[in-house]
């Protein structure tokens, strides 16, 4: 059997004294796109931060295996170099650092961590040009400081562009549809779909079903009270859209 790209076993995590993840189990084989849906406050975003290694969260139990390797002891940058990518719900502004400079810094940092040589400028430019065309990121945007004054759509396009350039084996998309109008949603989804290559796996975290019309998942999981409570195919998302999260305990959002 092939090694899953992501395997989460009985994951418990808390922030300060509050337990937020209460035994998450999830297996994503290579090439599959899984969606996690749940109401606000169910712990979805916490899951994405814990995967990426944010310090504020303490893992109290369980394991996270990325391509068979336990990543819990790794720093966030080591996880990134190992092939994990998190597209942020709210991308962070880096004043004074042009998007272009940031992209090159990130790509070369990961290459260095993997013992690869630095990208040559022509290779870098070629890659940027290709990824940029797909996501409608023009040279003007690349010169602006990363995320500073970007519209919602620009921020998300810049995120997906980074994903395209960094070529992770697992992409975690945290509420990528938030703040997007329908046109921007299409551009972003197209960009994401172009990165589905049969090997790369994705975990799409969302509150609404509409994103899943564009990025069609292989499996849909329902997240409630810190764990996955039901899994199914893409029709499960439609059912949730129609019925809401009321059947999964707690109050309606």
């Amino acid at each position: 059997m092939t090694t899953p790209v992501l395997e989460i076993r009985n994951l418990h995590a808390r922030i300060e004294e509050r337990e937020i993840l209460k035994g998450v189990n999830l297996v994503i084989p290579p090439g599959e796109v899984h969606a996690i849906m749940g109401r606000n406050g169910s712990g979805k975003s916490t899951l994405s931060y814990v995967l990426a290694g944010r310090e504020d969260y303490e893992v109290t139990e369980g394991e996270i295996l990325l391509n068979g390797e336990n990543i819990l002891e790794m720093e966030p940058d080591e996880r990134a170099a190992a092939g994990l990518f998190l597209a942020f719900q709210y991308p962070i502004e880096i004043p004074g650092v042009s998007t272009m400079t940031f992209l090159k810094a990130a790509m070369n940092a990961q290459r260095k961590a993997r013992g690869e040589s630095e990208l040559s400028t022509p290779d870098f430019m070629r890659a940027v040009k290709e990824a940029g065309a797909q996501l409608k990121v023009d040279s003007d945007m690349l010169k602006r400081p990363l995320n500073v004054g970007f519209s919602g759509g620009e921020k998300k396009r810049a995120e997906i562009m980074q994903m395209a350039l960094l070529k992770p084996s697992l992409a975690v998309l945290d509420e990528t549809d938030s703040g997007l109008d329908i046109d921007a949603l299409q551009v972003v989804s197209k960009g994401v779909n172009a990165l589905r290559d049969g090997k790369r796996s994705m975990l799409v975290i969302t509150h609404y079903q509409r994103l899943l019309n564009h990025i069609v998942p292989d499996v849909v999981h329902v997240f409630a009270d810190g764990r996955i409570v039901e899994s199914g195919d893409k029709d499960l998302a439609l059912k949730l859209e129609a019925e809401g999260y009321a059947n999964y305990g707690g109050e309606a959002a």
Partner: protein
């Protein structure tokens, strides 16, 4: 299809430099080595005899000795200033030696006569003193050495109290430019020195400037004659080597009508446990339509991680925009020294003159920085611009102190000031102390200030993209200082980005 430029050279350098530097060993202060060379050192202590000794060592004319003695007498009546936000044990001025020179040194020579030990020192510092080779077109001689002092740059190399060599003099002389040590200028161009020395920073200006006037040893002298655009960057590289000595350099730059000169200054010192004093005076004079651009990368030894040792840097730098439409621009990058007390200023005397001050001051460990500028608007339609970026990490204190004033006659004076501070960690301090005074209803002064911290969100975001914590800090800080970096000569920009990374090593985590 969008149109793509290749990334600007700056961005390229950005990355490459940061990467290269991050690849360096954690050898934090890489200029800390000592040159073992026999030196001629004056006994510690300060009295009239020492002042006479210095003057005699330099074969100075009588008038210069008198000038020094007058300064010394004046200094004895003065008190050390205490208004800066810096704390240090009282300096024992009698414990310092005021003159040190490599033995057998008889004034600057041609390159092939310079002690090979000294040439080695400068090679190690990355300062090429191989003018002949460059002039002769020897391949590789002008190649960048990864420091600002490479390629086609004329260098005056000052080692402890003396200038050991000045390169490209003959080349420059062809255009009437004088570039030599101040000691030589006193002997060979007394009329110019008499006219301008002390005319911008008077002998009695302040405690350290007066001390400097009494005991200054060497420094650079630049004279750009009317109508000449200096064809290359001029630079001075200061090196303190000897123990228990102070370095008191004096630099004088005169730009006559319709001239331009860009001048760079760099400095380093060996790692030592005791504190060493550096008290320099720099005077700039810009006549009608002249422009002087003065850039400094100050990297004196900052002391160790426990705050032991390091240079006390008490410096008076001032430019006089004496002519109409003259311009003086100071750009400084302050990363070294245990204590920095430094306010490069502009006197905007000529109508339509312009002063600029761009500063990056980084403090880490136990460093204390109190730095800023003064823009004194005297003439009509004068303008000034101040952009200061202070970065404090570790247990350091970083203060911007600036004065902007408009005289009653300074109609339509304009100033824009922007002071930004960035804090790394929660044990350092950043302070902004602006003094603004206008005696003139037509003056418009603007002041903006911000203080920010590198947020955990920013660090996490960069890390999630693969940068480790130190790379992330270096990138964020480089972004923070970007608008000042752009005013540095290209070679200095590279050096600065390296320094930023090195200075902030160990500031996180």
């Amino acid at each position: 299809m969008a149109d793509y430029d290749i990334p600007t050279l700056k961005e390229e350098i950005d990355r490459e430099t940061v990467d290269q530097v991050l690849a360096l060993d954690v050898d934090k202060y890489k200029y800390g080595f000592e040159t073992l060379i026999e030196s001629d050192v004056a006994p510690p202590g300060l009295n009239e005899d020492i002042v006479r000794l210095i003057s005699a060592k330099k074969d100075e004319p009588e008038w210069m000795l008198e000038w020094r003695l007058e300064a010394f007498r004046r200094w004895q009546t003065m008190d050390e200033p205490t208004w800066a936000k810096v704390h240090y044990p009282k300096i024992d001025f009698q414990a310092i030696s005021y003159y040190a020179a490599p033995k057998a040194f008889k004034g600057p020579k041609s390159l092939d006569e310079v002690d090979p030990e000294l040439l080695k020192t400068y090679a190690k510092l990355g300062i090429p003193l191989k003018e002949q080779a460059i002039l002769a077109g020897v391949e590789g001689a002008g190649e960048p050495t990864g420091t600002p002092f490479s390629g086609n740059v004329a260098v005056d190399a000052v080692f402890d109290s003396v200038s050991v060599v000045t390169t490209f003099r003959a080349e420059l002389a062809k255009q009437g430019i004088i570039f030599c040590s101040i000691s030589e200028a006193i002997r060979e161009h007394p009329e110019l020195v008499k006219q301008y020395l002390g005319s911008v920073v008077p002998v009695t200006d302040n405690y350290y400037a007066t001390l400097n006037s009494a005991v200054f040893t060497d420094g650079s002298f630049v004279f750009i004659p009317k109508g000449v655009r200096c064809p290359m960057e001029l630079s001075t590289y200061f090196r303190i080597n000897e123990k228990n000595t102070g370095q008191f350099e004096r630099t004088l730059i005169i730009a006559e009508d319709d001239t331009y000169v860009s001048y760079l200054e760099g400095c380093t010192a060996p790692t030592r446990d005791e504190n060493q004093l550096h008290a320099a005076v720099v005077e700039l004079v810009a006549l009608d339509n002249a422009e002087i651009k003065y850039s400094t990368v100050q990297n004196w030894y900052p002391g160790d991680k426990d705050g032991k040792g390091g240079i006390y840097n008490f410096v008076t730098k001032r430019g006089d925009c004496r002519g109409t439409n003259s311009k003086i621009s100071w750009t400084q990058v302050e990363t070294g020294s245990a204590i920095t007390w430094k306010y490069p200023s502009c006197i905007l005397r000529g109508d339509g003159s312009r002063g600029e001050f761009y500063s990056i001051a980084i403090s880490n460990g136990y460093q204390q920085v109190d730095s800023g500028t003064k823009m004194i608007h005297l003439g009509k339609n004068t303008s000034s611009r101040i952009i200061s970026k202070g970065i404090a990490a570790g247990l350091s204190d970083n203060t911007y102190r600036g004065q902007v004033s408009a005289h009653a006659r300074a109609k339509n004076a304009r100033n824009f000031t922007q002071c930004d501070s960035l804090l790394i960690g929660d044990k350092c301090g950043a302070h902004t102390v602006p003094y603004i005074e206008s005696r003139n209803g037509t003056a418009v002064f603007e002041h903006e200030a911000t203080t920010s911290k590198i947020s955990d969100d920013q660090l996490f975001y960069c890390q999630a993209r693969g940068l480790n914590e130190e790379e992330a800090v270096a990138l964020i800080v480089n972004g923070f200082v970007r608008d000042v970096l752009q005013h540095l000569p290209m070679e200095f920009m590279v050096e600065t980005q390296k320094l930023i990374s090195i200075s902030l090593e160990g500031s996180v985590g």
